[in-house]
């Protein structure tokens, strides 16, 4: 008896069944139907109740955000924002560009001859400055082949001051202020480069804002001044910067004293390794910092005793530390910036209450691009500049700590370039291929005037950045 359905036929009839579902996805003849097909309906979609924010409620906007691609990882956007580019491979390499060598830095008369010219920074200096975060993303380093700076009048004055401070072993402090784009931060960088080439130890607080806006962890400590606050994480970060920037000098210096430290330390450890210990562990960063400051400010002995080089200390964004910080004390009252131990140490050096027995220089720059409101600082700057005696609103309390810190601190107003200096930098722009027009007296004069009487940032913007 034969079966009504032959087995072979049955097998054939089953074959298309399992292929059928896949054939839509496979798109045998064209790719469009699969792409154009309606998305499959979700199971049970019809049964769900409309919710308050669901589909059946009124939609007032069609502007729905569509997620595209991978969202940025934590810290990625900030890293991109803070990225410093120091080279532009499209810019022409300037031939016969003099370098800011060790000899040039030590010889003030040779530097005076280079007045109004642009000098390149040596690789070593660039590395040190980069480690100290002295280059900023807002400055025009990414426009030229390699980092180079203009030798302006103030640079030569700075070199003379450094020379004096080293030879007479005295501490010089200075506050730079002036319009936005006048070159305060770059002048500070030049001073650091000069100090570094002279073999000094260079410490730098790249952004005072980061010390005081309350984004770093803090802890109270009881000191002779009452309650003060340490910032372990940020201290470790700064120690790391210092160790990297000054490795060459610090690796030749050894620990000379006994310090109270939470960990056992090899007694004659080199200072760079000592500082790295603090950089690697925020828990011990503050004791290491304190010990480091004692070591660096220990007086050198004559003959073959203890030798310590002069110290350069810089801080950018002074306005942020001349006011209350964003940190709160135990009673939720704002903490004055000078109660933060890092700031206290810097202000001590700036005001001269902490001496540098081996000579040194303390340079602070006021930031104008992100100016914090500090009325007492404005008052002090105007008073110390000696131009006029400003009036103080009698109904407004003065910040006594700022007033006392500024008692004997000289301030320097940074103005625009002279026309000769402007010509020097514009010729450098032209040689780099970034300025296409011929540098004539007329062009220099026009740019100089449009740049608020030669503000260097504006000269750069007018001739290189805004170029059509």
């Amino acid at each position: 008896m034969s079966s009504p359905l032959c087995l072979r036929c049955l097998r054939r009839s089953l074959q298309p069944l399992d292929h059928h579902a896949a054939s839509v996805q496979r798109a045998a003849f064209s790719t469009t139907p699969a792409l154009g097909a309606l998305p499959p309906k979700k199971k049970g979609a019809a049964n769900t109740k409309p919710t308050m924010r669901g589909g059946s409620s009124l939609k007032l906007t069609k502007n729905t955000r569509v997620a595209s691609g991978r969202p940025p990882a934590p810290g990625e956007r900030k890293a991109l924002r803070k990225r410093v580019v120091l080279s532009n491979t499209n810019a022409i390499e300037v031939r016969h560009l003099q370098d800011l060598t060790k000899d040039l830095c030590k010889d003030v008369s040779a530097l005076t001859e280079a007045h109004g010219k642009v000098v390149g920074l040596e690789n070593e200096t660039v590395d040190a400055m980069r480690a100290l975060e002295a280059f900023k993303a807002t400055q025009g380093w990414n426009l030229f082949r390699r980092p180079a700076v203009l030798v302006r009048k103030e640079t030569i004055e700075m070199a003379e001051t450094l020379h004096d401070a080293q030879s007479k072993k005295k501490t010089v402090s200075k506050v730079l202020y002036g319009s936005r784009g006048s070159g305060k931060s770059v002048l500070q960088l030049q001073a650091m480069a000069l100090a570094q080439q002279r073999g000094w130890i260079v410490l730098h607080f790249p952004e005072a804002k980061e010390l005081t806006i309350g984004h770093a962890a803090y802890e109270p400590v009881i000191t002779e001044n009452g309650t003060e606050y340490i910032q372990p994480g940020y201290t470790a970060h700064l120690l790391g910067n210092f160790a990297r920037a000054n490795k060459a000098v610090l690796s030749k210096l050894h620990l000379s004293q006994q310090h109270k430290l939470p960990i056992p330390i090899q007694p004659d450890i080199t200072l760079d390794r000592f500082i790295e210990l603090g950089a690697n562990d925020p828990e011990i960063a503050w004791p290491i910092w304190s010990a480091m400051m004692i070591e660096l400010t220990a007086p050198s002995k004559s003959d073959k005793g203890l030798q310590r080089p002069p110290l350069f200390v810089g801080l950018d964004g002074l306005d942020h530390i001349m006011r209350d910080s964003a940190y709160l004390d135990m009673d939720a009252k704002p903490v004055h910036a000078h109660s933060l131990t890092l700031v206290r140490d810097f202000v001590g050096l700036l005001s001269g209450s902490t001496k540098l027995p081996n000579g040194g220089m303390v340079v602070a720059a006021v930031s104008e691009s992100n100016r914090a409101r500090a009325p007492t600082l404005d008052y002090c700057l105007e008073t110390n500049s000696g131009e006029s005696k400003p009036l103080w609103d009698p109904y407004m309390p003065q910040d006594d700590r700022v007033i006392s810190a500024f008692k004997n601190v000289p301030v320097q107003l940074i103005n625009g370039l002279s026309k000769d200096e402007a010509r020097g930098i514009m010729e450098y722009y032209a040689q780099s291929g970034m300025l296409r027009s011929t540098v004539t007296d007329l062009l220099v004069s026009e740019t100089w005037t449009l740049a608020g009487n030669g503000l260097i940032g504006e000269v750069e913007r007018g001739s290189v950045r805004m170029r059509m």
Binding site: S57, L58, L60, P74, G214, A217, P220, A326, M330, D331
Partner: protein, 147 residues
Amino acid sequence: MPFIFGVSFVDQQLVSRALQSFYGIGPNVCKTLMARFNIHSTARIGALKDKQIDDLGAELSTMTLENDARRQLQDNIKRLRDMGTYRGRRHAMGLPVRGQRTRTQVSLTLALVEWDRDLAGYENVWTTFIYFRGLLLAKHQFHSISM
């Protein structure tokens, strides 16, 4: 993932956000709490030390939070009702308590009160209430825009 007040938080979460997730802690209380234990404003849970977490937990356990705070609120309203004060009566009626105008501009409130009464016999009153209120809010919004 540390536990604070019986709730586990992921390490990446902001401390301020974690604290404000408790009923009874708003921006102000959070600020004083964080200041007391020296926690900076952008601190994350993972960056807290064990002692800070313990202290926070101990402090939170002494505060009136979550259901206690909710009960306190209910009790306060109940007290007003029991005393028969004007405010208590307004609460009971579901009408504005703080002297707002009711001649106009309270259509939503009145409608909600009405629904509240109508829906009293329904099985799942709360879900239905939310649903209708959503529709009504949308309608209300639409009218206010189109007008």
